[in-house]
């Protein structure tokens, strides 16, 4: 048991380290961006001392490393600082966006994960059957279509033509849950198109892999019902790969949805980060990338933990 704890802690530490390095990379990256927020805000109409004045006002005239250190100091005290662009509190700026992003991600995941598992397992069970082949083709089609295509087509039919769902997700803090669902319907479907297919294929692959193993054959020879073979014998050994698949998909759902946000005007984190980069709004960019990287690392960590905790060799050492 302690061994497991140790492994997890080790992974965790590694994650933190990665996070730290990421923060440096991003900071340096944004530093390298030509122009700075002062110029970005004032535009080409700016006169040199205009810019200088704004820089001073924003404290951009301090050397980079001090700003970086101050930033960390703030973060460690749970203060993400304020946006340089509009002097608003980043924490509040982000909580709104993040909650939206997560809501969208979870909605999409909540539907696609179970479906993916179900379809995947079925496809694995009846592999090379008509079902398997057709599902295979369909899913491949889904992954192949660029998101904006799916998105626009959805809008055309379900919003413009049928008027079932709004073409833009106009949600805010006090939108009711049901209403929210209605609002994110189209973006969620768009995202599902991509990850559902992807996950399903992965699940299928890993299950098929399992089914090839000797103990599954043994289970059959013991006269176990097909269903039991899958549930009792295959699945317990499939958690690790499946957890991984889910983690990757979720990570994608959180960080990879800029296009969808743009098309559906969904006030998510991606859009915020892109804008902030264009504004050179370093603290916001930092905060966003920390969240993104954090999510990615956390999800992978969880996947690791799952695979550790479902591995009997580690769970029940000799």
């Amino acid at each position: 048991m302690n061994k497991i704890l140790l492994m997890i802690l080790q992974r965790f530490g590694l994650g933190l380290l990665t996070l730290f390095v990421v923060s440096i990379i991003i900071f340096v990256g944004v530093e390298f961006l030509p122009g700075d927020i002062a110029e970005a805000l004032l535009g080409q109409g700016a006169s040199p001392e205009n810019v200088a004045a704004l820089r001073h006002e924003l404290g951009l005239d301090r050397p980079a490393h001090t700003r970086y250190i101050d930033w960390w100091a703030g973060v460690l005290q749970g203060d993400l600082g304020t946006s340089l662009a509009n002097r608003r509190d980043i924490a509040e700026l982000i909580t709104f966006r993040l909650s939206n992003t997560l809501f969208l991600a979870l909605t999409a995941a909540a539907i696609s994960v179970p479906l993916a598992l179900l379809f995947g397992i079925l496809a694995a069970l009846y592999r090379n059957s008509l079902y398997d082949r057709s599902v295979n083709v369909v899913t491949l089609g889904a992954v192949s279509a660029p998101e904006f295509l799916t998105a626009y087509v959805l809008i055309l039919y379900f919003s413009v033509k049928l008027g079932w769902f709004p073409s833009l997700s106009n949600i805010d803090q006090d939108t009711s849950f049901i209403d929210k669902l209605h609002q994110v319907a189209l973006p969620a479907i768009t995202l599902m198109g991509v990850i559902l297919a992807y996950m399903m294929r992965m699940v299928r692959a890993s299950i098929i892999n399992l089914l090839a193993s000797a103990y599954i054959e043994m289970a059959h020879l013991k006269g176990m019902p097909k269903f039991r073979v899958i549930v009792k014998h295959a699945l317990p050994n499939a958690w690790a790969p499946i957890a991984n698949i889910i983690a990757i998909s979720l990570a994608y759902l959180v960080v990879g949805v800029v296009v969808v946000e743009v098309v559906f005007i969904y006030p998510g984190l991606g859009q915020l980060m892109v804008d902030s980069v264009s504004n050179r709004d370093i603290p916001v960019v930092q905060a966003c990338s920390m969240i993104f990287a954090g999510t990615y690392i956390l999800l992978n960590l969880t996947a690791d933990i799952v695979s550790i905790c479902t591995n009997p060799r580690l769970l029940h050492p000799k």
């Binding site: 020879l221 013991k222 006269g223 014998h233 479902t310």
Partner: protein
Amino acid sequence: MNDPLLEIRNLQIDGESDEIWHEIIKGIDLHLDRGEVLGLIGESGAGKSTLGLAAMNFCRPGCRIREGSIRFDDQELTEQSELTLRKLRGVRIAYVAQSAAASFNPAHQLIDQFSEIPVVHGVKSRREAEKDAKDLYGRVLLPDPDGIGYRYPHQVSGGQLQRAMTAMALSCRPDLIIFDEPTTALDVTTQIEVLTTIRDIVREFNTAAIYISHDLAVVAQMADRIMVLRYGELVEEATTREMMSSPKMEYTKSLWAVRSFKKEAETVASAMSPVVKVDNVTAGYGSEDILKEVSFEIHRGQTVAIVGESGSGKSTAARVITGLLPPRLGDIQLNGKILPKSFKARNKEQLRHVQMIYQMADTALNPRQRIRNIIGRPLSFYLGLTGKQKEARIRELLSLIELEPDLYIDRFPDELSGGQKQRVSIARALAAEPEFIICDEVTSALDQLVAEGILRLLDRLQREFNLAYMFITHDLATVKAIADNVVVMLQGKIVEQGSKTEIFSPPHHDYTELLLSSVPEMDPDWLNELIAHREKHGVMSSTSIS
């Protein structure tokens, strides 16, 4: 009672390999009475397992029964629904697989996997099942019968797993158990114990059994009747004793003949300094030592056999000599000169003189290189041969290993049989014109006839080029056949070493004794006598010594 328990008529099974179906069981008849034990033997590819599984009307993916009837207890299995078959499997027909380690689900405790059979089939309640399990664990002589069931497969040794699986097979007291090479993966000493268990248990429950193995001697101990298969056809069938005493078919005779090969004279260690000297070597991975203060010498033209069971450190010794695993203490000498510990530090000349032949010929040859390149590379790499010279030499080597150059030079490894692959890897080693070759279990993956061929070849080459061999094996038969000197290893230490005659003639070191006695012999009564003997002189097991 007279009607047979299992009756297979004109069974034909097709197998698919890259989208082509071809026959792998070509119309076999088989019948088995209640309580009878039938032995199926044959080389790999003979279709033993396929036939065995067919007895439960089960086909692996990529196989299909084309024709024939399988009657089990007056039911025609080929006509039964999946459901009825399922109800049959595990309850009336059970299966014991070759590798218990792989066939137990790593995710569940042994006892769960045991009791799920009776519970799912509604034969017993969970509680009864567990009780029964513990009882059976006891009968198959598992240590701590009450506790062991609650362990996970990886927490139990291979031999014990094999017993546990036998117990599991008995969970519903089936009429028929199919043993598919249940001991092949085990060490000889463990094999004995498992064999005994299986035989006793089968007798005790008066279960009919089909015992599949490639090892005649083993089958001889277990079976009342033996069927010899080859390429999916029945070669010969007779009661065990009959077949032992007077095999009829040529092929069967040749199987018997395997152990006939003996190296002529033992080469005595020449006075001059040894080719290779392992000097008091201690080595291992991480903190633990796998080799402990090991020393031995190998002289020109001489074969030293390193004998031991898995984990005895014999392969590690090879890795140390090749420099893959730098020793912690001691060193390796080549012709009296100390070799750098790591192969990275050795020069071409030193590398050239230490060549290696691997157990798995399939993985030993790069599947993407033609035989020409595989053999040609050392020629150009070490000896700088090119063009015509090289080509000529490659062909020369091919003929040396008895492969028709024109036919084989352009082939890829996967276009060769196991034996041919092994020959090619021998040629590759020879190409370097070494003084010393390490043969790591070179025959254990091969069928007996093929192995025989390889041994003869190696012997001939040794005499021709006055090579020194280090022959790593667990199979004492092979040792008897080819060795001049023998080194017996146990848990990283050398228990005994000396000339073959010394080792094989009493008095033996206990462990050597155990090893020797554990090698099955072509005598149906061998096992009984052995057990009797051992009971008289107190039971020994590999663990009780060291």
